[in-house]
């Protein structure tokens, strides 16, 4: 069974790239090939000038990985001891590790719990420690696989802002996979969408929104029932008599046209919004499935 086929892309230094796709699309396989975990049967990979299949160890000094579903830390040790251990793994002298821990402690706000065993930390605190552990050796690329999985919205937001800060501070390239649209939207400037083992979209976040945000959702609460039917540029998404939800294709009709159809005097309340990014991504996934 082939997990990925003819995937081709390159990433610039300091970029924050979202590498997304539905389950089984080949995201993890690609990341694992890029980090030297899996051997591709064909093709070539070059990460920071290294072929991961031939120079796995050299490459390992230059990259960091955080797999949200797989913990790297010793749970009975404190984050501080774990960081020291990771420093030893990467052959970093003690004084340099101490300095780095101090620096990352500030950046990731670990002061309150750096000396508490990992098993007693909350999931959010653990993920922060996982990220710090992967940054001890100052990697040039950080691979983040579902870094916010299982976290509550507040902690997610916190992790995202810390990753952003890290990217700004160290110019670390971030290669992120996540099913969380918030991670993608708030962190990444570029999106690569993969489906069925192939790249189906590789574009900037700005372009993605620009090209796919040509539809508006109009939700209206009406004084009287309106009998509206689908017509060119207008699709009825929900019609519950007094409550309507329609989608307007702004390339064919203006929002004003749609409002005229509803009769503005008949509208009690109205909400006009963009199509959620999640829906845009889902529609790209579906297109990929059909092709």
């Amino acid at each position: 069974m082939k997990a990925v086929r003819n995937i081709d892309f390159s990433v610039e230094k300091g970029e924050m790239v979202a590498f997304i796709g539905p389950n089984g699309a080949g995201k993890s396989t690609t990341i694992k090939m890029m980090t030297g975990i899996l051997y591709p049967t064909k093709g070539s990979i070059n990460v920071l000038g290294f072929d991961p299949t031939k120079n796995r160890r050299k490459l390992a000094y230059e990259i960091g990985t955080v797999f949200g579903q797989k913990e790297q830390l010793w749970t009975h040790l404190t984050p501080y001891d774990n960081f020291k251990f990771f420093g030893a793994i990467y052959d970093i002298p003690d004084y340099a590790v101490e300095k780095k821990i101090e620096e990352l402690k500030e950046l990731f706000e670990l002061g309150d719990f750096i000396n508490i065993p990992v098993r007693n930390l909350s999931l959010g605190q653990r993920i922060r420690c996982e990220i710090v552990a992967s940054l001890i050796h100052e990697p040039k690329i950080l691979f983040l696989d579902e870094p916010t999985i299982g976290l509550d919205p507040v902690v997610k937001e916190n992790i995202r802002s810390l990753i952003k800060r890290m990217n700004k501070e160290y110019k670390t390239t971030v290669f992120l996979t996540s099913h969380d649209v918030g991670d993608i939207e708030k962190l990444c400037s570029r999106v690569i969408i993969i489906n069925n083992g192939q790249v189906v979209l590789d574009d900037s976040m700005e372009n993605l929104k620009y090209h796919y945000l040509n539809k508006k959702i109009v939700e209206a609460k009406m004084r009287e029932k309106v009998n509206l039917e689908d017509e060119d540029g207008i699709t009825i998404l929900k019609d519950k008599g007094y409550n309507l939800k329609i989608e307007v294709d702004t390339e064919k009709r203006t929002v004003a046209d749609a409002l005229k159809l509803l009769n503005p005097d008949n509208i009690i309340d109205i909400n006009i919004s963009n199509v959620p990014l999640e829906d845009i991504i889902s529609s790209i996934y579906r297109k990929g499935d059909k092709s």
Binding site: E71, F85, I89
Partner: protein, 264 residues
């Protein structure tokens, strides 16, 4: 190269230390494990003492040599399981795709994996082994030689387990082969080799090298022969190299997994 080796050894020792610290979190269980393993090993000797009270000399061994044989068997078993515990469930690690976190580290994957856990009861085996060695002959030369054979024998056991477990890269049920191979070696290691004849004996010096782990060392400790000592060392080296070759060949076929895993 030398720095890399030194750093690898440092990491392996550090991992062993942290794994030991984890085991010692519950001190009562930790010490009970050790004590009960010593008692467990000692209970087998009673059978031999009874046997030797009926008949003197079994398979060419006197009672003291049987004690030494048990000491070596317990010592090699204990050494291998204390320092390289994960070599004995390597199949499960390969099958469940748990090598990922070791593969992204700039260290030797095989060494990092197999040294990542310890068995506390194995310490009981090691203590027991030295009690037997002292009973056999209390001399510095004897203890040094005994230690040398525990290391070479332990490393052969680890290598056999790694070689057989690495077959999991090629087919799923290799864990049963690994388990059977290692348990056969451990079982045969406690009987005087004189009771075995023909093809079985050939097996002990080829596929299941118990001969190099236990029998030849017992012979050397009874009557020193340098050529045999060198032979044991060379054979141990051969199996270690073979283990690395087979594991790294198989690693190209590693398929990982997306299971939720925590380091415990």
């Amino acid at each position: 190269m030398l720095t890399a080796v030194r750093n690898q050894i440092r990491i392996s020792l550090l991992t062993t230390k942290y794994a030991l610290v984890r085991e010692m979190l519950n001190k009562a269980t930790f010490f009970m494990n050790i004590v009960f393993m010593i008692l467990n090993d000692a209970s087998f000797i009673i059978q031999w003492v009874i046997l030797y009270s009926i008949q003197d000399g079994i398979g060419g061994y006197n009672l003291k040599q049987v004690l030494l044989l048990w000491g070596l068997a317990a010592g090699t078993f204990g050494f291998s399981r204390f320092f390289f515990y994960r070599a004995f469930n390597l199949s499960e690690i390969i099958n469940n795709g748990k090598l990922d976190s070791y593969l992204v580290q700039p260290k030797n994957v095989l060494l990092s994996v197999i040294t990542s856990d310890v068995s506390t009861s194995a310490l009981g085996d090691i203590f027991y082994a030295y009690i037997m060695a002292f009973i056999y002959k209390c001399s510095i030369t004897n203890i040094l030689l005994f230690t040398f054979f525990i290391i070479t024998g332990g490393l052969i056991l680890v290598s056999i387990s790694v070689i057989l477990s690495s077959l999991s890269f090629w087919f799923q049920k290799a864990d049963m082969i690994a388990e059977t191979g290692v348990s056969l070696m451990t079982s045969f290691a406690t009987y005087p080799d004189g009771i075995f004849k023909g093809a079985v004996k050939i097996l002990f010096y080829t596929l299941l090298p118990v001969g190099f782990v236990n029998y030849i060392p017992v012979g050397i400790l009874s009557e020193f022969r340098l050529e045999y000592l060198i032979l044991v060392f060379v054979v141990a080296l051969f199996f270690i190299v073979l283990a690395f070759v087979v594991f790294y060949r198989g690693l190209h076929r590693y398929s990982s997994s997306n299971l939720m895993i925590s380091k415990i």
